[in-house]
Symmetry: C2
Subunit: 212 residues, 2 copies
DNA sequence: TAGTGTGAATGGATTCACAGCC
DNA sequence: GGCTGTGAATCCATTCACACTA
């Protein structure tokens, strides 16, 4: 599938369309118009149609989109119509919360390994998934290959992040979800998505503060 | 402070500039050029200068920016040169991890109350902050007023989110960081920032998958 | 009639190019 | 010489307007 010419904002919205379509499906809606979808997500109907049109013609003029079909199509576009093996580095508070988060599995992301640098944590099992035991970070390269892992979640302190990223990338990881509050340097072929929780609150502070 | 005419992407980047400047300060750099900052964050130097120029003239031609001064200025712009009281709704896995996250306090966000709908959790104290006890969600309105809370973090299941948001907004909350995987409907005067962890992984799946 | 798909127009953010200052 | 600040030019996403189809 081509990707170079798809606007980034479009890809972000695609995930939100999918989420909303899954809700509609659960609520027994089998068809939906761009206008309806737009209202729920507070986008414009035109934008939704244009976004979808990058990938093909999915709708029926006069009727709208078939919810089930569109779900299938978007999952295919996003690559979530299959299971991804995912690893997690960092078994601290946040890491443990993420490992227990059911939302990942629902979307086809399967946590298959957890690593931590702290020897006292190694060997312990993690909540809800007794089959996973915390491994030493030294075992990252071997485990990535053995379990065919392409995606990694990084939930470690800022100082520890970059060296671990280098290890992950050298081991064959292709995409990285980074929770460490530092900017990460990777080869362009590796996808990276960063979430800095404090930054999110700062954005709110700006918006709220300016209105006071 | 004016805000209406500041591009949203600029505000997002401001937080990242601040983060990087704080790192530079810790590493004993007292002055920095836009080019250097740009290299670290992988933006362009021009973009940084233009972003900062929205708020004033902070640099010295021929020299660059004074790190300490710029930190002060950006904190003021973002409104984080003071302490914000924050509440958390949802004492599940994610909520507890967030309540223990030290990154918030470092940036001036002080967690002062935690709520959960589950009566069996009410009354328990939370890790690391024995002075905070989990309260019933019924107590939200009174506590928001009493403790002068403006920002809320929402870490509850999707189904529970919207009614709680309505309560929060009616209680006087002005900004909301939402971790529930649903789209939230609020009055335009309330700032909202959403983080959907599964969506983040989907973005990686798309980027990685398209290159396979 | 209701709703999609899409070229054209618009609007807004990024980048360029350079004047101005240390 | 080095670097900021900024109008002008460019680029790119969004919106408009409408042809088209069930």
């Amino acid at each position: 599938m081509k990707t170079g010419n798809i606007p980034e904002p479009t890809v972000r919205r695609l995930s939100l369309y999918l989420r909303e379509l899954e809700n509609l499906w659960r609520a027994d809606h089998r068809t939906v118009a761009s206008r309806k979808l737009a209202a729920a997500l507070k986008f414009t109907a035109t934008q939704i149609r244009k976004d979808l049109a990058y990938f093909g013609q999915f709708g029926q003029r006069g009727i709208g989109y078939d919810v089930g079909e569109l779900i299938t199509k978007i999952r295919h576009i996003l690559g979530t119509d299959r299971t991804w093996n995912v690893l997690l580095v960092g078994a601290g508070n946040l890491g443990m919360a993420l490992s227990a988060y059911r939302g990942f599995a629902k979307k086809g992301f399967k946590l298959v390994a957890v690593f931590d640098a702290d020897p006292s944590k190694v060997g312990k099992s993690i909540p809800m998934q007794p089959e996973i035991r915390i491994q030493s970070v030294d075992e990252i390269p071997a485990t990535v290959k053995e379990k065919d892992i392409r995606l990694a979640i990084l939930a470690v302190p800022g100082e520890a992040a970059q060296p671990l990223v280098d290890t992950l990338v050298q081991s064959g990881i292709r995409g990285l979800l980074n929770f460490a509050p530092v900017s990460i340097d990777v080869d362009a072929k590796v996808a990276i998505s960063s979430v800095d929780l404090a930054v999110q609150l700062e954005q709110l502070s700006f918006q709220v503060g300016s209105g006071v």
